[in-house]
Amino acid sequence: MAYLDFEKPIEDLQKELTKLKEVAEKSKVDVSKSVLELELKITDVRREIYEKLSPWQKVQVSRHPERPYTLAYIEHLTKGTFVELHGDRTVGDDKAMIGGFGEVDGQTIMFIGQQKGINTKMRQIRRFGMANPEGYRKALRLMKMAEKFNKPIVTLIDTPGAYPGLEAEERGQGEAIARNLLEMAQLKVPVICIVIGEGASGGALGIGIGDKVLMLENSWYSVISPENCSTILWRTWAQKEKAAEALKLTASDMSLLKLVDGVIEEPLGGAHANPTEMFERVKKEILFHLENLSALSPENRVEQRIGKFCSMGVTMDAGEEEVEK
């Protein structure tokens, strides 16, 4: 298990526990009571730490190397029925964006999401979850197919941004994302989007136009990463904590601001501490929302979806007199 800097107290206790067990093994002394006490203490400390994570610490949890990625969710939810589909039919197959049909409790769902690599080699191949234009175009192709066959769409968002490469620019990264925003607004089937890790900027939004947009408790979603925000606005990398706070990028803040529709709680210690429990919670949310959304007509869904995004923004008319509240 990899520990984050603020998890040091947990790491220390865990080491203590391991040592205690080793000693017991050698000396054959019964330490079960001490073990139990230590385990309870670890849970307490973990709870204490996780109850008051700062925005920047949540960003760290969202990037935890053992945090489950998109395919892990899909594989668990679809129990061996997932068929991954490849290619944008124009340029190639982007490994940073995956998608395909799978069955959840007898219901066929089109899953789409950015995929981060699980080891050094795969991280390169999947470009750390940063999709090229053909990734967004593959996503759109699959969404249109889902619409054609009247299957709901679930997107899982986990990206540090769209890939800022030379070929990405040549092949129209901006156009690819823009097209997805426009087309997703009009999709006739239910669309649920869940930010499972990082939701950075247009790269995240490019698969993020849903009837329900949900965030995992320790995920983040904003116009820019805290590091890049710090670099641009404070002209130094060092203000990332401050930037993370200012951006209001946590699930709870985004939900309070009504920029997303809900938060899915993570198990104690984050999604990586108990992936199976996390997958089950996500499944429950998907099925719950699909049932509600299926009760609406396609026209209704599209109207509400567009209406929701169009209501986002805070402006006022300076020509009018100030109204006392």
Binding site: P164, E169, E170, A178, L181, A185, I209, I306
Partner: protein, 281 residues
């Protein structure tokens, strides 16, 4: 709500004290350094007659260039931004807004107006780069959204003139969602079969490129404009070497298939008139 008053006062002051300085007589081209009289330069739509360099201009100049006799009706001209996040970096966002309002005599980074272009009706939403780098926040999104409502109601074609560094960071996810908002609204305009012409000018990058700027029925651009999603500096860092010459210019983007045409500003009104006629007849 204290800052709202301040902003209002800022606006009043800026209008009252609007300085009537005599126009400078000379304009020196920042590309070829040739000197023109400002009158000549304005007559040539702020394009250098020597080297074709298109000086960056704002909504005031574009409206003047496009609308017959500079007559137009502006929508939502008093719409200003809120500060829902109470955002502060090295400066409070509300101070930044107020300073920009006073400095530019604009309320935000986009103005929308309808009028006639050689007799053809057109709604023009035009970005102003001088206002916080032409960044897209709630006001830009809301004005485009309302302009599209007007276009749908009156069957008026739409043109958006983009000139922007992208989303406005001080509005964080609100600015991000303006991409969703404008794209969703454009999907309604498309369903109503009303033409949308996107004019991309120097520079058009980031979230603006990744939303309305690239969604025109026709995407046209001014010559040599910088157009891209990621900024050139970021792309350079990613690939770890120098960028090829002409990378992310309008000509490059045309060559790669994302623009219909490059149109010089001196011919903009004429070409636009023809396009509006072709859509109409």
């Amino acid at each position: 709500m204290g800052w709202f008053k301040r902003i209002k006062e800022g606006i009043t002051t800026s209008t009252r004290e609007k300085k009537e300085t005599p126009e400078g007589l000379w304009y020196k081209c920042s590309s070829c350094k040739k000197i023109h009289t400002t009158q000549e330069h304005a007559n040539n739509k702020y394009v250098c007659s020597e080297c074709n360099y298109h000086e960056r201009i704002g909504s005031k100049e574009y409206f003047e260039i496009l609308f017959d006799e500079n007559k137009f009706t502006e929508l939502d001209e008093n719409l200003i931004s809120g500060d829902p996040l109470n955002f502060t970096d090295t400066k409070k966002y509300t101070d930044r807004l107020q300073d920009s309002i006073i400095k530019t005599n604009l309320k935000d980074a986009l103005r929308s107006a309808y009028g006639k272009v050689n007799g053809y009706d057109l709604m023009v939403c035009c970005m102003d780069f001088n206002f916080i780098g032409g960044s897209m926040g709630s006001v830009v999104g809301e004005k485009i959204s309302r302009a599209i409502d007007y276009c749908i109601k009156t069957k008026t074609p739409l043109m958006i003139i983009s000139k922007s560094g992208g989303a406005r960071m001080m509005e964080a996810a609100y600015s991000l969602m303006q991409m969703a908002k404008t794209a969703a609204k454009l999907s309604l305009l498309a369903k109503a079969q009303i033409p949308y012409i996107s004019l991309l000018t120097d520079p058009t990058t980031g979230g603006v490129t990744a939303s309305y700027a690239m969604l025109g029925d026709l995407n046209i651009a001014e010559p040599a404009s910088l157009i891209g999603f990621a900024g050139p500096r970021v792309v350079k860092e990613t690939i770890g070497k120098d960028l090829p010459k002409g990378f992310q210019t309008a000509e490059f983007v045309l060559e790669h298939g994302f623009l219909d045409k490059i149109v010089a500003r001196t011919e903009l009104k004429e070409k636009l008139t023809l396009l509006l006629r072709l859509f109409k007849n």
